[in-house]
Symmetry: C2
Amino acid sequence: MRVVVALGGNALLRRGEPLTAENQRANARTACEALAPVALEHELVVSHGNGPQVGLLALQGAAYTPVEAYPLDLLGAQTEGMIGYLIQQELGNELPFDVKLATMLTMIEVDRSDPAFGNPTKPIGPVYTKAEADKQAKEKGWTFKPDGKDFRRVVPSPLPQRIFGVETIETLLEDGCVVICAGGGGIPVMYTDEPVTAGRRLVGVEAVIDKDLASALLAADIGADVLAIVTDVDGVYADWGTPDQRLIERATPAELETSEFAEGSMGPKVKAACQFAEQTGGRAVIGSIRQTQALLAGDAGTTVTLEKAKVR
Amino acid sequence: MRVVVALGGNALLRRGEPLTAENQRANARTACEALAPVALEHELVVSHGNGPQVGLLALQGAAYTPVEAYPLDLLGAQTEGMIGYLIQQELGNELPFDVKLATMLTMIEVDRSDPAFGNPTKPIGPVYTKAEADKQAKEKGWTFKPDGKDFRRVVPSPLPQRIFGVETIETLLEDGCVVICAGGGGIPVMYTDEPVTAGRRLVGVEAVIDKDLASALLAADIGADVLAIVTDVDGVYADWGTPDQRLIERATPAELETSEFAEGSMGPKVKAACQFAEQTGGRAVIGSIRQTQALLAGDAGTTVTLEKAKVR
């Protein structure tokens, strides 16, 4: 099978855990232990989130005053390099030496009229208390929103419209490479507003694309059989956080659309899974990184397909 | 021809210029205007330096105290993402839409017994006055060395021994891609000191590999016809900085070995050019980014080959 595994931010950094290099490497190693058997069995593309990391880079940039902090497209590109490196190195450490791996920088086009630019929703960076969040909002002009009992910075998260380099990703897969790409939802870019003849140019955009929606688009573009969205919980729950909460083992997009899921965490995962199933007729699974193989086999987590009956 | 163009730090950021996103993008655009015709005519691999950028990331990391600053391998990976993105985007803007471009993260193995680990020589980050350099040395434990009339931080710069992913770079070239890789001299890595059977692992190394030597190794590995090392000066000069200074239009490695060139600037470029010519019998050229096409044709800059007579 051709498989896209989208690693959630929480699969690379446990909630509240300090963003040290050691923690990120240790979590990347754990994730890669789960991914290695998949790489040996299937054509594998790995994508990943970058919320905590891109937020940290923004804080570091703001803390060093001699040079103005960089825009989010450049910071996103930095996280693609750093996180891609950790995954490539640790996944390589779990695989025989002759398995080829490639981390490809990925730009993704967004629409300038996307309403997300007027309504920031994507959480990045560390979690803050209300007092800390208010202080940062005042100092830096950033927007913060509640995230559970904490607060996090939020930035615009426009929809991914077109992935650059899809053909190249396919060439690498056909060559037997494990491909790490579309990190952090891809680097958001758009064309300047001139006619092509006047020298329209691609430029970066101050935003962070949702990595699950980017992964769903990527999976559709490369004709993946399965999109696996892996995180630190074992699937999608109905009535999450109530005494009645129960794992949804299988659902159609239509069934899931009747429920609400947390914006910024399970919401985008469900939306991305539904989008992939609807657009391609393929299978999307959501669940724990530790159960990746069982997820792909349809034996764990939440499976989203157009068909109601379980296909084995 | 198959061509490797190594962009010097000074081709991406003029000496002393502030390291803003705008300056880096503007310089990347100028560099890519020079590279675009090469991409249309030849199989092109672009590598680049990261000295100023990796130094800035280290300063930003040190300025934000809640999270411990990241090691140089992670920062190097960040710069591969960021600079690779700028080059890919700006080069793409200069080329027809159907020209494929790929930025590949590149790890390069170094030797744990390399004497460079005991003698840091590679300048990174901004330039400082002596007083500023002394203050930073005291505060952060960093090493500084004179660089012209200024001072810069220096870090170990071990020799590149093995590039990971060479086969993949060749696959992409054969597929018609312009490949951007080995940025910042590659991400320095080495194996842990255990036997393979005990689970030897690849890990990152606190160093910055010289991008010219990495590019020479890459050019040899992929069977490049020409290695072009481009910077902001128009070639290698004999008696540089004296009234007798004159451009060396053509030289053999043996001839160049009798002269001394500035460590940390022209020295490594000459060394890399000689190494490529000696190891492959191919042609290396050193000169100005603005003259890249003339350099490749042997009509500008300094040509280094084993043959004494000019071949046209």
